[in-house]
């Protein structure tokens, strides 16, 4: 989906630049197909990642598609069914049932929504924040840069998980529920976003610093463009490729952080389904029912892996200069 959109963007900018007639929709569509195809051929692993990613996103949006009739009722996922406790995987319960008799397969499918919501939300917020901090810091320099960088260093010095846990515990009861996001999910999303926003603003600042020295910025300045105009019109657009690539690579990390927090008990609160939480609960009955620990982890692994693979391929495609950097 992404390689195609860049193609279209390129065409649009070209059309705008050279005053060409915009291509009609049909050839755009063909372009999109051929763009996807060439992406798939050039980066088979990336395409595989993209496919798994799409499945997961669909799972998050319409989980009903994936659950057979028997478990479509929300009841088998949230309710308590003592008679069905600890079923081993069977035709009725594909992945077995947990301590409360809840269907594991259904819970994991519905868990995709939690993971994807927090993952995407955190990434979008984090990248916005890091772009703003990085650009402002690089552009103004002086005391603004100094203050912001000291704050970034402060955040960086505290071990990630310790930082996240402390802030989640502190903020959780003070958060409202917003729409599908309950307060516990919201707080994880925000804390992960703020942490990563600050930490990754460092690299954005580095890129923005080099952009500030470009002649076109100087030209804009000499034409009397205001600071905010230069930042928004000249620096940020040139950062976009970098930000998109780093965002696609960070979704996996955000999902992993969410599940770590949930696993330690500071994350998503029951009865909402969360993969990390599911693993935490599986610990209690590990010796007898190891399958309860196997499947949630597999979902986390597949999610993080697919996002990383896709992000990697995307980076190679969009910005070959960044190839191989972590």
């Amino acid at each position: 989906m992404t390689s195609t959109s860049t193609h279209i963007d390129d065409d649009e900018t070209q059309a705008a630049l050279f005053g060409m007639r915009k291509e009609d929709d049909r050839s755009k569509f063909l372009k999109a197909i051929s763009g996807t195809w060439s992406f798939a051929r050039g980066y088979p692993m990336g395409m595989m990642g993209a496919v798994i990613m799409l499945i997961l996103v669909t799972m998050a949006v319409i989980p009903q598609l994936f659950t057979p009739l028997a478990v479509q009722k929300a009841d088998s996922i949230i309710g308590i069914h003592i008679s069905d406790r600890f079923e081993t995987p069977s035709w009725d319960f594909w992945f077995g049932t947990n301590a409360l008799g809840r269907d594991m397969y259904g819970r994991l499918v519905y868990g995709a929504r939690t993971a994807i919501m927090i993952g995407f939300g955190a990434v979008i917020l984090a990248k916005l924040l890091s772009t703003v901090i990085g650009t402002v810091s690089a552009f103004f320099g002086g005391w603004v840069d100094n203050t912001l960088q000291r704050i970034v260093e402060m955040v960086q010095a505290i071990p990630t998980l310790v930082f996240l846990i402390l802030f989640v515990v502190m903020l959780e009861p003070r958060m409202p529920d917003i729409g599908p996001l309950s307060s516990d999910m919201l707080v994880i999303l925000l804390v992960v976003a703020v942490h990563s926003g600050f930490v990754s603003s460092r690299t954005v600042r580095g890129v923005a610093l080099s952009l500030r020295e470009e002649t076109y910025v100087e030209a804009a300045q000499s034409l009397g463009a205001s600071d905010s105009r230069i930042m928004v019109r000249h620096i940020v657009p040139n950062l976009i490729a970098y930000v998109i690539v780093s965002a696609s690579l960070f979704v996996g990390a955000a999902v992993l952080l969410e599940s770590s927090l949930s696993f330690l008990g500071y994350g998503v609160q029951p009865p909402a389904p969360s993969w990390g939480r599911e693993l935490n609960e599986a610990r209690e009955e590990l010796a007898r029912y190891p399958h309860l620990a196997f499947f949630p982890g597999l979902f986390i692994f597949a999610t993080v892996w697919s996002f990383n693979m896709f992000g990697d391929a995307l980076r190679d495609r969009l910005d070959p200069r960044l190839r191989g950097s972590t």
Partner: protein
């Protein structure tokens, strides 16, 4: 540094609920008056500024305060736990380097061969695998098939029973280390690739030097500079990793201490630990800077 202490301090004071909520135990919650008396006995009734200055003063004198439950000084508990986490951390770091750097180098030197592809796929898998999942699977398998990695219920001391200790620590350390090894591999590979394209490497080849010498002496030496910086970046994640792994394996180290203290709102312990973790990161970053200037004489800090 001072900023972090302030941040940590403020967070602890803003934390909802406090240890007096837990003190009542089976006899129900304490009434407000009793709570206030207990809080006052720890100086928590004074205003924040006084508390903060007092705490910093104590820290500088090496006094971390006492646990609100046991009344034992925290420094004593720390002395017991610090070596355990340090052992875990050092093993993990060694494993991270031993797995990460050689594979990264092989993958760079033999770029676009099966070594390279396998190495890279492995690195990406390592990045994606949640280590607490592997830990749980390992424990459950060990329980079923009686492998030697069964976590023993108690932690054997390193000096009392070295073999049991190593057996106990091997798997947790492997898992903590492997988590970062993926990054290490990818980074070493990139660094090495960059170096192998330089002119002086071509010179070394054309002088007719052996492959080993070209790679290790001319290549690795220069690639080490960026690699060392990653070690510094890896530390905050490593500490987080020990928190998770210590919880799973019931290792009585700093990570588990932290989680326990936090759940009981034992604020002085949480404060002290957060500051120590941060100090470890800052000091090691400083060491990385020093190592940097040794490895690369072109950099001089003025």
């Amino acid at each position: 540094m001072l900023g972090t202490t302030f941040l940590v301090f403020a967070m602890m004071r803003l934390m909802p609920g406090d240890f007096t909520d837990f003190l009542g135990g089976d006899f129900g919650a304490l009434d407000a008056e009793t709570k206030a008396i207990i809080q006052a006995s720890f100086g928590l009734d004074q205003n924040w500024a006084v508390q903060y200055v007092g705490w910093i003063g104590d820290l500088l004198r090496g006094d971390f305060g006492v646990s609100v439950y046991s009344g034992r000084p925290i420094s004593g508990d720390l002395l017991q736990r610090l070596p355990i986490t340090l052992e875990l951390g050092i093993f993990a770091m060694v494993i991270n380097l031993v797995i990460g750097i050689p594979i990264g180098i092989i993958s760079a030197v033999r770029q676009f061969t099966w070594y390279d592809y396998t190495g890279r796929a492995g690195a990406i898998a390592l990045l994606a695998v949640p280590n607490f999942w592997i830990a749980l699977l390992a424990i459950s398998l060990a329980g079923k098939y009686a492998l030697w990695a069964v976590p023993s219920p108690t932690y054997p001391g390193l000096f009392e029973d070295p073999i049991a200790n190593l057996k106990f620590m091997a798997f947790p350390a492997l898992l903590t280390g492997a988590a970062g090894a993926g990054y290490q591999m990818r980074f070493s590979r990139t660094a090495m690739l960059e170096v192998m394209r330089q002119d002086y490497i071509r010179t070394a080849w054309s002088k007719g030097l052996q492959e080993r010498q070209v790679i290790l002496k001319h290549g690795l030496r220069n690639a080490l500079i960026p690699i060392v910086t990653v070690i510094g970046l890896f530390l905050p994640a490593l500490i987080g990793g020990t928190v998770v792994i210590e919880t799973i394996y019931s290792i009585p180290g700093m990570g588990r201490y932290f989680i326990h203290a936090l759940n009981g709102r034992d604020i002085f312990i949480v404060q002290a630990l957060a500051v120590i973790f941060t100090m470890v990161v800052i000091v090691s970053n400083f060491l990385v800077d020093i190592a940097y200037s040794i490895l690369n004489p072109r950099i001089r800090y003025s």
